[in-house]
């Protein structure tokens, strides 16, 4: 069953600090459960959003907690769409090549796995860079309810 999300309470803002990740996961996980996902799916959707936000906080906002971004949740025909909206430098995470995990482990590589988790968990990932200096970059993570 697909629940109707509360459209007045479908977004949160967060600062550029990793201390914010816990509240983001709680928000996304609760919304995913409300939408009808099983617990393990809601857990993994929250994980994918955590990875997106962790990358944003570290690489774009440089852990500056004076900067803000927004996580917004929408639904469309049985799809849950989570949008991460920021005003940092544009960077499309999908431009990161997929790692060969056998090679990764053989060479004891480090880092770069967040985007791979996002790919594994979500059905669709889209990135819309800000078109003007006052606009926001929008990363959309979509998961279909099976």
């Amino acid at each position: 069953m697909v629940a109707i999300l509360n459209t007045h309470n479908n977004q949160i803002s967060a600062s550029g600090s990793t201390a914010e990740l816990e509240k983001i996961r709680e928000f996304v996980g609760a919304q995913a459960l409300l939408f009808g996902f099983q617990e393990v799916d809601a857990f993994q959707i929250a994980l994918a959003v955590d990875e997106a936000c962790s990358n944003l906080i570290r690489h774009s906002y440089h852990n500056d907690n004076n900067r803000q971004f927004v996580v917004k949740i929408e639904q469309n025909n049985g799809e849950l769409i989570i949008q991460v909206m920021d005003n940092g430098d544009s960077f499309n995470p999908m431009s990161v090549p997929e790692p060969d995990m056998e090679e990764y482990f053989k060479k004891f590589k480090r880092g770069g796995l967040g985007v791979q988790i996002m790919r594994k968990v979500m059905d669709k990932i889209e990135y819309l860079p800000a078109q003007t200096s006052t606009a926001l970059n929008i990363l959309s993570l979509t998961k279909r309810l099976a």
Binding site: S17, T18, A19, L21, E22, R25, E39, V40, F43, Q44, L47, D50, E51, S54, I57, R58, M101, E102, F105, F108, K109, R110, G111, L113, G114, Q116, I117, K120, V121
Partner: protein
């Protein structure tokens, strides 16, 4: 600032060091675990068990901590064995194929037995 919900308990079992981790292991808390394992490695302790029985969450930042030290401890004849993982936490390891590289066992007894072998 609120402290995140992550703690580490240290135990020794002979020459094996056990870190029992609790709470959430994410980009915010991973440096705590990296520092704890790094201290053990610096002290020459290279047989390490990380007990996950009370860990409720891990992200790639947490997975990355194990990648930092696994090569070093194995070169010294040791290992980092991971025990008592909750199913939802195991799914994160499994998503990326981490069971290919890490020994993930049912409990600390099994991990100790693996070190004895």
């Amino acid at each position: 600032m609120n402290e995140s919900k992550f703690t580490i308990e240290h135990h020794s079992i002979g020459d094996i060091k056990c870190l029992k981790i609790q709470g959430y292991l994410d980009a915010h808390t991973a440096p705590q675990l990296e520092s704890a394992i790094g201290n053990l490695v610096q002290e020459g302790k290279h047989k390490i068990i990380v007990n996950f029985s009370e860990l409720d969450y891990i992200s790639s930042a947490g997975l990355g901590v194990f990648m930092v030290y696994i090569e070093d401890v194995r070169e010294l004849g040791g290992d980092i064995k991971l025990s008592e993982m909750k199913p939802k936490v195991f799914t994160v390891f499994d998503l990326l194929g981490f069971p290919m590289l890490f020994e993930i066992v049912e409990n600390n007894h099994a991990a100790i037995a693996k070190f004895s072998n």
